[in-house]
Symmetry: C2
Subunit: 374 residues, 2 copies
């Protein structure tokens, strides 16, 4: 990754008027490359590089829906919001360049909170070569609501899509999907059961500090090994369904190829403990240390967590088998955990899991749906 | 304006799940030019034209802040939202091309309402050559909140900005600023005083169906006459202050050059009538017909309304005096009302109004501020 100008840390001060707030928030932003007119005009003017396609994505984070104010620091929230958008560009093999930030602000937030948020966001974007070049500030009566539009570039005609996977292509995934979702599923309980904090730490880190696979995607794109890609924002099963639907293929996951994740196994153990706990609070710590659920039950839940709704911002990739070695070499060079966990096939929309004994079953889990009733 | 593919009208149906709703909403969108990958992937892939700069703007409309659900039809709201963004591109002399729409949806809205909104938006964008190429759908617990990011193109290095006005440049404005704001100021009363509906009609039209000056701006840019530009979204005085601050100049408006607006005079008469009305409801109609406020008082209020907070999406322009005739010829050819109403000067930040007798006073009115307390 090249060195990019970074954002400057804000100082503390009370909430000023709209235009003064805009001025303060834009004053500290690092200047981006290819920015002819930055924040402060009716629109930003940007200079695309010749020979490149433009890649554009937008995402919204709503307070109380995507995050809770007391549970994440504004700087970390800004970084997480950046990662969600950066990850969409990674899934297209694009280089992030410019961002527009729309802030819906409720009266109960102070300027320092907002500026810490913007600092984290701008700094995380800058680390991947993107600058905030414009935006909008408006009032939201009840809660904070942020929309980021991120623009990037990819060599002309070389963007990855969801629709290129072919039967026989390998199915690969980065990192360890399911951790961020498990952190949320345990969230409330984790505050009630403080002695399990250590067990939850890797999960909370996945939730709070996801890292978009931008540099890895760019390096991998140069091999030509990838036939389709999607980032994991709904959960492994949900996003795999999106990709297979777009490509008109099916997929089979081989359970024996999936990398073991002790953190998710510990999350499964904690979930089973919570169910078993009942009202026995005073003896909870001692019971936790001794708690040993049935092995099969624990394994089943841990497996389900891998595929459950979770926004890990990892990449799910279809890889040309002839170029598997090149892809693995790039992952090693980039120090990115990459596992080949299955294969695409010609059964459209059918997602199966093959276990160690060779038996198959429908892939468990489902994707995130903002409008489903749970 | 060239012929562009238009959006198709939606049919009625209940609110489905997230991905089904996305599918239905994107299915009807017209395909845009230069769209390599449209809605349905992690990001859109777009092909910029060589020799052009990219122009990007973003805007948010929040229910209860920017509009009220009962007072505007979803189709009209979509068109108004499009106009707000199109106008920002007009102020940069850019051609609209691609848009990303982020929808924050509360549970009390039905699919038909949303699709009517999207139809109006997409159709208004298509009329100016822009297509919706991507977006996002999320849940907002209390109210609808929409963010649109609009991308356009301008010949390289030819974008208008706010910072190019020089002392001596002419100050020009399109249309009749103040109408949209007057409609809002009268809004509640207009429902209480139905017999004044005819008087309010031109104001309500300005509020509900603003037309962005996209084609006019593009034609005018070709003359090279414009040295600075801004669109009127905060109000004439507020936006003039933004432009003069960015350019480091002052401005004087000549009251005798400002085009008379009978609709705003009628709005002023109605406002004075409302103040005079007190509790005399039964005789209101007769009193309204006979109501004749003092001429000076009426004129003063009508003048103030021109400069008051109002989002008319008209253009405020600085024009090189040597090219005045060319600018006026373009306005006539485009059938766009354009009035030269003053001149920029070398008194930074000072905005004055010169009356018919030659006396000057500070320009009345102020801009819109989302965070000021009113």
């Amino acid at each position: 990754m090249t060195e990019h100008p970074r954002a400057r840390r804000p100082r503390r001060h009370p909430l000023p008027g709209e235009f003064e707030l805009i001025r303060r928030m834009t004053d500290r932003l690092p200047a981006g490359e290819g920015v002819i007119v930055g924040p402060g005009d009716d629109a930003a003017v940007l200079r695309p590089r010749p020979g490149y396609d433009l890649v554009a994505t937008t995402d919204t984070f709503v307070e109380g829906v995507h995050w809770l104010r007391g549970l994440i620091e504004p700087d970390a929230l800004g970084r997480r919001f950046a990662a969600a958008n950066l990850s969409d560009l990674a899934a297209m093999a694009a280089s992030p360049r410019w961002a527009l930030l729309s802030l819906g602000i409720s009266a109960d937030v102070d300027a320092a909170w907002l500026e810490e948020f913007e600092y984290g966001l701008a700094d995380a974007l800058a680390a991947h070569g993107a600058a905030v070049v414009g935006g909008n500030l408006t009032r939201e009566p009840e809660r904070l609501s942020f929309t980021l539009t991120l623009l990037g570039e990819v060599p002309r005609g070389r963007a990855w899509t969801r629709f290129g996977a072919r039967p026989g292509d390998l199915l690969a995934v980065t990192g360890s999907p399911g951790r961020a979702g498990a952190a949320l599923a345990l969230g409330a309980a984790a505050h009630r059961v403080p002695f399990t904090a250590a067990a939850c730490e890797p999960l909370l880190r996945a939730h709070r500090e996801p890292s978009a696979r931008v540099a890895f995607a760019k390096a991998l794109a140069a091999t030509g090994a990838v036939t389709a890609a999607i980032d994991l924002s709904d959960g492994f099963r949900g996003d795999l369904a999106h990709l297979t639907e777009a490509s008109g293929v099916g997929a089979e996951i081989d359970e024996t190829l999936w990398p073991r994740d002790p953190a998710l196994e510990e999350a499964a153990r904690l979930m089973l403990f919570q169910r078993a706990l009942g009202g026995a609070w005073p003896r909870a710590r001692r019971r936790w240390v001794r708690f040993e659920p049935a092995r099969a039950r624990l394994q089943r839940l841990a497996t389900e967590l891998h595929f459950a709704p979770s926004d890990d911002y990892e990449l799910l990739l279809a890889i040309d088998p002839a170029l598997e070695r090149k892809a693995i070499a790039v992952a090693q060079a980039q120090r990115t955990p990459l596992a080949i966990v299955g294969r695409f096939n010609d059964a459209p929309g059918v997602l199966t899991l093959r276990n160690a004994e060779g038996g198959t079953s429908p892939l468990p889990g489902r994707g995130w749906d903002h409008f489903s009733r749970r």
